[in-house]
Amino acid sequence: MSGARTLDVSALPPGAFGSRTLTFWGTLGIVVIEGTVFALAIGAYFYLVSRFPAWPPHGVAAPDLRWGTLNTIVLLASLVPNELARRAGEQVNLGKVRIWMVVCLVFALAFNAVRAFEFAHLNVMWDRDAYGSIVWLMLGLHTTHIITDFLDSTVLTVLMFTGPVEEHRFVDVEENAVYWYFVVLAWLPIYGVIYWAPRLL
């Protein structure tokens, strides 16, 4: 092979951001999978609606609007520090990454706490009827996402303080923020179905 023509890639950068990275495509795959789960759960909700004459069945009161709406605001507001953390990651700026990831975690603590009140004000238990089951399933699915997102963001944040901080961790910070966007935006249709479908149907 000696003397063969070559394509020298040694000068290429050892990493990248955004859709150029493998991590982005991996994250996108997870978003597609989990987005499909949410979409199917919403589909199941309306299938059950179509099979029963009154909704919610048996004269159950719709979930209280207060806590769900409050949490929607908190979740949307968390997108601001989330975006700032994402940009700090892209800038490979450790100081800013630390600040904005901690702010994100404070938001995550807040919306996880408010979520407990949401469960308490659904006005139905999961074992009452299928309406209760599907409402608890949808809220439970989303709660799993905000708990796991809180946990993995915590691990990443701790790592950014303790080190060793490898350069590719800044790509992780960026991708963590991309996933956070998904978790917040996926909430909007779930919120609409849980809180508004029983009122508008």
Partner: protein
């Protein structure tokens, strides 16, 4: 930044091989991340499950071989047919195709490895533990007995108070976690790790088939996971998803299940068509006729595959408009498949056909799959569908489609790629015997089932009275099963014998054109000592002699070249992770959680703690042993977000 220049390649190939080698020894075995190692395990494990599922099938044929037989009782028979179906769908068909993808997609796109190698290793352990869980349950008398689609209300606690339905539902979780992980890895590998020059229209059709299948997995598997989770919740904590008395609906299960279950057929069949295209091309010694039409057929089959699940539910009394829609959809999907068949015929017709063992299986595929496709078009019609619903006609149909559409191409692939994986050739003479026995045995077993079904013999009955007159055809079917068992036994013996024999395969024994044949057999740890670039769809046939090779990747770390999605221009380099025990430990923790949660909902809460701990261990930096990653705050080496992609000279 990138230029083509003439210069000797002075890279340290010995160091390169050491870098990419996974550790030896028993302890090292649990840390492997090499896609070739994991791919081999997938293939061997899935084949072992194929044999176990086959043994169960043989037991059923033994029981049905004569009327009023008493070898198996109804309870055991129920467990056997459920475990057989569940094994073949979830532990054999999907994993074996994904195993081929894990092994061959990186080689066919000219990459040093698979994307997310630790995730792929994790997926293997999940598949293995799920399968062991099913068979331990079966041997303990707790094998699922509610059919491979586990319909409520039969699967609800009221009618199945034992744990059997939970075993089925949790097996789903194991296998779907595994196949989703593989799907994400294969898509990313095919989109981002292709050799420079491998633009979208030069991707081998087998890789296209794997990508299309993986996308189907992403959209289909969540449906069955949601369904099986809801079933477990109904059984464990008293929800009422499928309970009509509490505003639930049993048909909700069928919709969710078949929204997965019909695409599942194509998830098994599309990789099979990819194999057919690959082997037809190689054995015709010409480029695939109608490459674009064939790829678009795969994509359109995938889309349509999601639009006909309701034809599994024609007997449930749907609105007539719905029935008409799904009948039309079920017939239309024959068009892209027909397009592919015409492309293969044209390729064979205009090429220089070599008939060797792999090609025999492809010819067998044509005969059997087309027969299965014809009964599929028949079943799309509501009146016939209702008439033969739940009869042996349906059993005959889907075995013709699945064994014809997937198992025959799979055996073709075994014969075609065995020399690549092992460096040895299988016996041509025994190969003809294996093919002949399986082809004849298959048709003896399953063709009579069409007639039995038309005569009204229902599925899933453990016996039948002599007065029904079904004895002769059933005996014929059982004799066919003996032929099939002999074929598989000869194949196993030959494939073990060939490992020890010294019929060493030439590097490219079939003179094929795709990149997996551009490296030694078996491939070196780094896949390609000199990373290839390509300038055509069949690089080994079409690359000019001066086609450049890639240089400049590190040899002291697992450095890979990442390229652009559309045109495969070089973009950046990336360090791949080293071997690790954490995927194995995480799989153990997840297994504990899954099994624990069958018995109490607290299993999910407490079981999540070890899962979290092992995942943190997986994620946590391993400092020096990762092989020279750059620590902050060195001078920035990552590109700025708005910097133009670094790609320079086109190939």
């Amino acid at each position: 930044m990138i230029e083509r220049r003439d210069r000797p390649i002075g890279e340290d190939l010995q160091q390169l091989e050491q870098t990419w080698a996974d550790p030896q020894g028993l302890a090292g075995w649990f840390t492997h991340v090499d896609h070739k190692s994991i791919g081999r395990r997938y293939l061997v494990t899935a084949f072992a499950f194929f044999v176990m599922g086959g043994v169960l099938a043989a037991l059923m044929r033994l029981q049905l071989s004569r009327p009023d037989n008493t070898i198996l009782g109804p309870d055991l028979y129920n467990q056997i047919f459920t475990t057989h179906g569940t094994t073949m769908m979830f532990l054999f068909a999907v994993p074996v195709m994904q195993g081929l993808g894990i092994y061959f997609v990186p080689l066919m796109v000219g990459a040093r490895g698979i994307a997310f190698p630790r995730l792929v290793a994790f997926s293997y352990w999940m598949l293995l533990f799920g399968g062991i869980f099913l068979y331990v349950s079966f041997l303990a008398g707790a094998g699922p007995d509610v059919g491979w689609f586990s319909y409520p209300p039969l699967a609800e606690s009221l009618y199945t108070p034992s744990r059997r339905a939970d075993v089925w539902a949790q097996l789903i979780t194991f296998t779907e976690v595994a196949s989703l992980a593989v799907a994400v890895s294969l898509i990313t590998t095919a989109l981002k790790l292709r050799a420079p020059g491998m633009t979208l229209n030069r991707i081998p059709i087998f890789v296209w088939a794997q990508v299309v299948t993986s996308f189907m997995v992403l959209f289909a598997m969540p449906a069955v996971m949601l369904a099986s989770t809801s079933l477990i919740l109904d059984r464990l904590v008293g929800t009422h998803f499928f309970d009509v008395e509490h505003a639930g609906d049993a048909l909700l299960w069928q919709h969710l299940f078949w929204f997965f279950g019909h695409p599942e057929v194509y998830i098994i069949f599309i990789p099979g068509t990819g194999l057919v295209s690959t082997i037809v091309t190689a054995f015709s010694q010409r480029r695939m006729f109608g490459y674009l039409a064939a790829v678009l057929s795969l994509v359109s089959t995938a889309f349509m595959g999601f639009g006909l699940w309701v034809h599994h539910m024609f007997a449930t009394g749907l609105p007539q408009l719905g029935e008409s829609f799904f009948t039309a959809a079920s017939i239309i999907i024959a068009i892209p498949t027909g397009t592919q068949i015409f492309c293969w015929i044209a390729t064979l017709w205009s090429g220089r056909l070599m008939v060797k063992t792999p090609m025999l299986w492809i010819l067998g595929f044509f005969a059997i799959f087309i027969a299965g496709g014809l009964t599929g078009v028949m079943l799309a019609a509501v009146p016939l569908n209702t008439q033969v619903h739940d009869t042996f006609f349906v059993v005959a149909h889907f075995h013709y489609v699945l064994i014809g559409g997937a198992v025959f191409p799979l055996f073709a692939a075994f014969y075609y790629w065995y020399p690549k994986i092992t460096g040895r050739l299988l016996s041509e003479r025994l190969g003809v015997w294996v093919f002949g026995l399986l082809f004849v045995g298959f048709n003896l077993t399953f063709f009579p089932m069409h007639i039995l079904g038309l005569h009204g013999m229902p599925r899933r009955v453990y016996t039948y009275p002599a007065a029904m007159g079904w004895g002769a055809l059933n005996l014929l079917a059982s004799v066919g099963a003996i032929f099939m068992a002999c074929a598989v036994a000869i194949f196993i013996i030959d494939s073990i014998r060939a490992l020890a024999a010294n019929r060493v395969a030439a590097p490219n024994p079939w003179n094929a054109g795709t990149l997996e044949w551009a490296t030694s057999s078996p491939p070196p740890h780094s896949n390609f000592l000199h990373l290839p670039t390509v300038s055509g769809r069949e690089p080994l046939w079409e690359n000019p002699p001066e086609q450049p090779v890639v240089v400049g990747l590190r040899t002291d770390a697992r450095d890979v070249l990442v390229t652009h999605v559309l045109d495969a221009e070089p973009d950046h380099r990336l360090l791949f992770p080293a071997p690790s025990i954490w995927p194995f430990l995480t799989a153990i923790a997840a297994t504990v959680l899954f099994i624990w949660s069958i018995f109490t909902p607290w299993g999910v809460i407490y079981g999540a703690v070890p899962v979290f701990v092992t995942m943190v261990g997986w994620f946590w930096p391993k400092s020096a042993q990762e092989g020279g990653t750059r620590l902050w705050p060195l001078q920035r080496s990552l590109p700025r977000p708005n910097e133009a992609p670094a790609a320079g000279g086109a190939i």
